[in-house]
């Protein structure tokens, strides 16, 4: 008699990527707020590393007067190279820890706001895995955008402040390659942190019974 119940298909990644991208675009301003702690932490990190990278590029090309000026400002090369001090690294790690807690909190709020939407999606036939993928992809985009914005901010500030202090040679000897590597690394780190931040909220959201999710206030 009646047709038996079939099994729901797993949505192809192409569709998941399209849906998550559109969802993020429609909520861009809200996501920027969620991502703001990440932007600031990455900006601080890339600023710290960029200052030394710029000095590394500048030092060999600097004349004695400029080298004296750099040393007089308090930067000291070890074995002729500039690099982060233990204190710098400690501060960076600390800021990343604070940022991780901040992003988990922000994502938890952002996901909670969307419980009703999640319940609706489940009524329309979404699998738990779709809900997880949706949030993970959105967090990956957020991490990438936040990381890119943060490192541009950090590197830009580093270059500009050193330029203001030491003049034009800073610009003409800017170490493009190492700053590029720094940009890529900080963006990747931001994606990683963003994913860590969203894991728990996404898991909670995906496991909710639709009836409970639908009851929550928008």
């Amino acid at each position: 008699m009646a047709k038996t119940i079939d099994r729901q298909i797993v949505l192809p990644w192409r569709q998941v990527i399209r849906i998550s991208f559109n969802a993020l675009r429609a909520r861009l301003f809200r996501s920027m707020i969620t991502t703001s702690t990440l932007v600031l932490a990455v900006a601080f990190l890339s600023y710290t590393f960029a200052v030394y990278a710029v000095l590394e590029g500048l030092w060999p090309a600097a004349d004695v007067a400029l080298q004296d000026k750099i040393l007089a400002t308090g930067f000291t090369p070890t074995d002729g190279h500039f690099g982060t001090t233990a204190k710098d690294r400690w501060l960076v790690v600390l800021s990343l820890l604070v940022c991780t807690v901040g992003i988990i909190n922000a994502q938890l709020m952002a996901v909670t706001e969307r419980f009703r939407e999640i319940g609706t999606l489940k009524c329309l036939g979404a699998l738990d895995s779709f809900v997880i993928k949706l949030f993970v992809l959105e967090a990956a985009y957020q991490g990438f955008l936040g990381g890119a914005a943060g490192s541009v901010l950090g590197v830009g500030t580093a270059v500009l402040t050193l330029w203001a202090r030491f003049g034009f040679p800073v610009i003409s000897h800017v170490p493009a390659v190492s700053l590029g590597v720094l940009f890529v690394k900080s963006s990747a780190l931001a994606v990683g942190l963003s994913l860590i931040g969203v894991m728990y909220p996404a898991w909670v959201a995906a496991r909710m019974q639709p009836a409970i999710a639908l009851r929550s206030e928008p």
Partner: protein
């Protein structure tokens, strides 16, 4: 869908639901047994807090009963795994809510096509069908509007179109006219009635709305988590006269 109109699309056997809130227990359903035939238009009526929405969630496989069984097309819902449940919610049942529950960041057409995307339909097919459904509810020109740009009645019509996306055998509505004015509510009711007559869709609707009684084949009155009485169409004419 399936024509003979005699088999049970939904069957509830002694369904109870208890919510535990700390020390307190709320008995939202206290043993509901109910059979709903294919093609029927059934209304569930009852005072606020009587358990209508809880019953809606049980029939729609949106929540687990504390005890008792729910059969959809004679399949025990408790036996289904996550994939089968998702399939059931996607293909077999269309949901309509008092608060519309459209996805706010999606346009009307995106909302209507989403269930078909979940069902694995191709783009050309789901776009055609989505536009056809929007036409059916009279909103074809507004297909690119987001819910916030539509009136309540229009949003509910988009929700009706979305509920029809995968030609469900059952449309389950929880106070579909609760947030609408009288005229708009009547429009939605006659839309649902048309669907049940023309497509043979089973309509199950929780409601406070007396106008719903006129179009229903049966009315289930619930009170305090129990079925108070069930009235058929013929008897209804009489009792409606008496009560109202």
């Amino acid at each position: 869908m399936n024509g003979n109109g005699t088999h049970n699309v939904v069957r509830l056997v002694d369904v109870t639901k208890v919510f535990r809130m700390g020390q307190e227990e709320v008995h939202a359903l206290r043993g509901v047994t109910l059979e709903i035939k294919a093609g029927e238009y059934m209304s569930i009526m009852g005072p606020s807090g009587s358990g209508k929405s809880t019953l809606f969630n049980m029939i729609g496989a949106l929540d687990k009963p504390t005890s008792g069984r729910v059969f959809i097309d004679e399949v025990d819902v408790a036996q289904l795994d996550a994939y089968e449940l998702a399939w059931l919610r996607c293909r077999k049942i269309g949901y309509i809510f008092q608060t519309f529950n459209l996805i706010q960041v999606m346009t009307a057409i995106e909302n209507v096509t989403l269930p078909m995307i979940f069902a694995g339909m191709g783009r050309d097919e789901y776009m055609d069908k989505g536009m056809e459904l929007l036409k059916l509810v009279g909103l074809a020109e507004r297909f690119q509007h987001k819910p916030a740009e539509l009136s309540g009645g229009q949003q509910q019509r988009v929700a009706v179109a979305r509920a029809l996306a995968n030609d469900p055998a059952i449309i389950l509505a929880d106070e579909p006219t609760g947030n609408l004015d009288l005229t708009t509510g009547e429009e939605i009711i006659s839309l649902l009635k048309e669907l049940s007559q023309q497509r043979g869709v089973t309509i199950i609707s929780a409601t406070h709305d007396i106008k719903m009684i006129n179009v229903s084949d049966r009315v289930v009155w619930i009170r305090d988590g129990r079925i108070d009485r069930i009235e058929d169409r013929e008897k209804l004419q009489v009792s409606v006269g008496q009560v109202f």
